[in-house]
Amino acid sequence: MKISNRLKIISVSAGIVLAVTAVLSFTTKVVDNLPVTGDLEAPAAVKEIFVRACYPCHSNTANLKWFDKLPGVASMVRSDILTARKHLNFSEWDKLAPAAREAALWEAYNMINSGTMPLPSYAAVHSAAAVSAAELTTLRNYLLTKRKTVTAVKQDTVQQAATTLPNPLPTSLTGIQFMPEFRQWEVMSTTSRFDNTTMRVMYANPIAMKAIREKQIKPWPDGAVIAKVVWDKERDKDGYIHPGQFQNVQFMVRDAERYKSTDGWGYAKFETKALKPTTTLLVAQSCASCHKAAAKTGGIFDLSTLN
């Protein structure tokens, strides 16, 4: 066979592959666009950012590029969209309670700010998806209008009734039993939230504390446990803010193998004074998704940094 003939065959077959690929790309339906039951409501400048950067995955109005429909790529895009919609869907905003909507927006901001969202693999090939520094400022300023102030009033003197732990100790569906011994652990940090009205104290067990001191938190060692106690804030007559109504205790338990599907952390939350274990496997997935925004510190948000 002459070289030119071989070239011809190669280029013709390449042409066919290209043509088929192109046709597939234009005709492939990656996902069904479901009805919009209630779209996100936000000022135009804010909404515009979400529509451009997030709606391709987190809405029922995916508007895909031709290369998203390429064979091989389409299935990845499809799976991303279906997962993304399950976690957060701006087209079904009406299905969230008002407090949950606000929480979702604060979370969205923190996901963008940490470079977690839009998915980096997606942002790399869709340059239009990137959220600029100016847009982050727009989002921040909008969120600050939603900032919460504490109105609950603290009574003068509160006598706490003696506590009795449930027996047996409650265990969450993620296999984590309530650990009363967290009270003997060292305090890792304390936070005051203004995206809601809670205040928290975080405790680290000895393994976790050692890891922090030795800067070995990427990844955290197996056996590390972080406990978080959450109260609603109350303000006294002098303006000081105190822990009021107890909300819950949360645990994050490190076991890279056992909790592989949630990035190596097991999650559990024990709510109200009855310590009701409320963490299902599905909830734990959401915990893990959001904690991706703390990837720089191995999944733990509440570490104080040197500024």
């Binding site: 901001y109 693999s121 205040m199 990837a295 500024n307």
Partner: protein, 148 residues
């Protein structure tokens, strides 16, 4: 050509993303207060001064606040933005540790009050009796389990 470009970019992006992930953890603030086995009684936020304080007590302090064996430490930090969560403040620099020791009450004297000041050169101590009273009367936060 376009086809190849898309994939090259995707592969590059993936490589960059995985490199970024291995980046060093940010500078974590060292723990400046050693609790010496004391446990948290409660936490107080002072929004006006951008401070948050944790009240620690020894076992005697949990059992009965006014017995001579009781020891309290109120540890005050500056509040700073939580770098990983916009919507949250976190305890930052240690500012002072105030200690109330009930021992002198055994011989009918007033509790001993002292304050160690850090990172806050302009700090002027307040009246010892007033601070002792503030610390002693802070209500205990509700926890589901006892600390000792």
């Amino acid at each position: 050509m376009r086809f190849i470009n898309v994939f090259t970019v995707a592969v590059l992006a993936f490589m960059i993303a995985s490199c970024m992930d291995k980046k060093e953890a940010p500078a974590i603030r060292p723990f400046a207060f050693n609790d010496s086995g004391m446990r948290v009684i409660t936490t107080v936020i002072n929004e006006k001064d951008n401070e948050v304080a944790m009240l620690y007590g020894n076992k005697a302090a949990f059992d009965n606040r006014s017995q001579p064996e009781a020891l309290f430490k109120l540890v005050t930090y500056r509040e700073q933005d939580n770098k990983f969560w916009f919507g949250s403040y976190i305890n930052g620099e240690l500012l002072r540790v105030e200690t109330v020791n009930m021992q002198p009450t055994a011989s009918g004297q007033a509790p001993a009050y002292s304050v160690d000041v850090y990172n806050q050169p302009a700090f002027r101590p307040a009246d010892a009796a007033a601070r002792t009273n503030f610390i002693q009367t802070l209500d205990r936060a509700w926890y589901p389990c006892d600390p000792y």
